[in-house]
């Protein structure tokens, strides 16, 4: 038995997590934290499962739920048009929490606590890889060029971006639609790969894991979610020694990365590589340091020197 066969399930799960990671990351690149991905994961999972059980062709079913989710995402973005920052994060999380309660209280569609079974197993590792590939390719293409600069400006300083002509509301709507598409694709992948989908899978814990994928991968590089998802999937194997406390250690590792490695593991690796390239290219020249305002407005917590 080769390595792939013995890890097939783990690899499939990692690719589903990568899609959920993209559902947060593609939106986060424009400075909007969208936690709606897991809500759409539920829509995609139950939707694709039900369509397959009604003998729809698999490809049509997946495209239908993804397109439907994109429409719901667009409608949601109209509702959220006025809000930003923490409100936007909270609104999208509220959507996910609502989807969660709906999943467990709508047994006709979701099969109640036990979920829906016997969904045809039409998804292959190749199919999952194709979906992850499309998301990654999209992230790669939009990371560079004029659009990439626009996104970075938006993440850096919204007001400046607006004054330079970036249409913030439109960008935020696009972010939410992308979040919806990736979330729904992950849900469809989950239910068609494993043949069942239950309300318990649409959980706050899954949102946490998707966030951890983004934390590990960072928001700055197109392959971040893939790295993050595979690290998260294989972390349990590496942390076997911690036994029962594995999940606790996992959470603490995520916190440590947030505090100590702000760009995420993948993002920091890319930064280091770029920095190294710059060093060899212009030997002796220090990379420019960003200008720091005299008082850091966000941190201005230090008591100022008092005259005494």
């Amino acid at each position: 038995m080769n390595w792939y066969d013995s890890h097939a399930t783990l690899i499939q799960l990692a690719m589903i997590m990568a899609l959920l990671g993209y559902s947060i990351q593609l939106a986060a690149r424009s400075g909007a934290l969208s936690l709606a991905g897991v809500g759409f994961f539920g829509i995609g999972g139950f939707g694709a499962g039900q369509l397959l059980k009604n003998d729809w062709p698999p490809a049509v079913a997946v495209v239908t739920v993804v397109a439907g989710s994109a429409v719901i995402g667009a409608v949601l973005s109209l509702v959220f048009a006025q809000i930003r920052g923490l409100y936007f994060a909270m609104g999208t999380l509220a959507f996910t929490l609502f989807a969660q309660t709906l999943a467990s209280s709508w047994p006709k569609f979701t099969g109640g606590e036990s979920g829906i079974f016997a969904i045809p197993l039409v998804m292959t590792t190749g199919g999952l890889a194709l979906m992850v590939g499309v998301a990654a390719a999209f992230a790669l293409v939009t990371e560079f060029g004029a659009y990439g600069r626009k996104l970075r400006l938006l993440e850096e300083d919204e007001i400046l971006a607006a004054s330079m002509g970036v249409r913030i509301r439109r960008e935020r709507a696009i972010a939410l639609v992308l979040s919806a598409i990736c979330g729904a694709a992950a849900g469809a992948g989950q239910s068609l790969t494993f043949g069942y989908f239950s309300p318990g899978q649409v959980s706050f814990a899954l949102t946490t894991n998707a966030v951890i994928v983004m934390v590990i991968g960072g928001t700055r590089s197109w392959f971040g979610p893939i790295v993050g998802a595979f690290v998260l999937a294989f972390l349990p194997t590496w942390l076997q020694a911690t036994g029962d406390w594995r999940a606790v250690v996992q959470g603490l590792i995520a916190v440590a990365i947030i505090v100590l490695v702000p760009g995420g593991v993948a993002g920091t690796a890319v930064d280091l590589a770029r920095w190294g390239a710059q060093r060899t290219w212009s030997r002796g020249q220090q990379p420019a340091k960003p200008l720091k305002p005299p008082t850091d407005p966000a941190a201005g917590a230090k008591p100022q020197a008092r005259l005494s």
Binding site: G85, T208, V215, L252, A254, V255, P262, P303
Partner: protein
């Protein structure tokens, strides 16, 4: 009818205590603490551990739960939030980094809860809290329900008076309005942050112990559903508005109880979600909230 109202008031008290902390942190410090649900559970879990380890009276376990949650959140502030706030280039970046960190912190705390309870709803010891039902005018209520209502009212009134009339309260309002300028005025914003974060978590712990005593058990995921309720209340009331948060919490509990009783839980969920979406679309600052768009 009367019975539903009594139950709703006790439930509203739990919502109010929980939301009060969340709203304070958000309104004063721009911290959306998604670990509030985990801190809520941590309070209930500590009370459970204490009740099992030593036969402390209920009040002792209650205090232990509150202190445990407050200390835990104090550690969050000192070790995590402060570093993120210092590093961020602007307020927006700090907000999002701290929000993400609270999700990871919540995961760690809930994981501890899962280990200790084995992932099941775990009952408190028999003699933890003797529930005495009282019959007044055709309705039944218990000591815990009374205690919840009293705590919620006292805490709300206390916080409103504290923020309005004390010097520290004025400092809190100054920091909420403009943190850098408040720091220039000699306000120790770091110390104040620690205080507000710990106090908010203490409220979550208090709500957790009381809710645990009301249900009779502790469950690692008990905080998740409250997070959604608290969002609804905050969206209704507006961020940082303490008095309206109390009104909103009680109103939400009444709506829930009566819609569930006379229609169904599905209708209740739809109604609640509809309210939150309507407010976010039309009046995102809530009934009494401050402006959302800060420039």
């Amino acid at each position: 009818m009367g019975q539903y109202t009594v139950n709703a008031l006790a439930l509203g008290g739990v919502y109010a205590l929980f939301t009060l902390g969340l709203s304070l942190c958000w309104g004063v410090l721009n911290i959306l603490n998604l670990a509030q649900g985990a801190l809520f559970m941590a309070g209930a879990l500590t009370a459970y551990e204490i009740a099992n380890a030593a036969s402390l009276p209920f009040v002792g376990a209650l205090v232990a739960g509150v202190v445990a949650s407050a200390v835990l959140a104090g550690a969050f502030e000192l070790l995590v939030f402060r570093a993120l706030r210092r590093r961020a280039r602007n307020v927006h970046e700090a907000e999002l980094a701290i929000l993400i960190s609270t999700i990871a912190l919540a995961a760690a705390v809930v994981a501890v809860g899962l280990v200790r309870t084995g992932g099941l709803a775990t009952a408190y010891p028999e003699d933890f809290f003797r529930v005495t039902p009282h019959h007044v005018a055709g309705v039944v209520f218990t000591d815990v329900q009374v205690l919840i209502a009293v705590c919620a009212v006292l805490m709300t009134v206390g916080v409103v008076m504290f923020v309005k009339w004390t010097n520290t309260g004025r400092a809190i309002r100054a920091v909420a309005h403009d943190r850098p300028t408040a720091a220039l005025m000699g306000i120790d914003a770091d110390r104040l942050s620690l205080g507000v974060v710990s106090f908010s978590a203490g409220l979550a712990g208090l709500a957790g112990v009381l809710y645990g005593a009301r249900l009779g058990f502790v469950d690692a995921a008990m905080g998740d559903s409250l997070l959604f309720k608290a969002f609804v209340v905050i969206v209704l009331a507006g961020v940082g508005s303490v008095g309206w948060a109390f009104v909103g919490a009680v109103a939400l509990a009444l709506i829930e109880t009566f819609v569930t009783a006379y229609a169904s839980a599905n209708v209740e969920n739809l109604v609640v979600f509809g309210i939150i979406m309507l407010f976010l679309a039309v009046r995102p600052q809530g009934i009494a909230g401050r402006r959302v768009q800060r420039v």
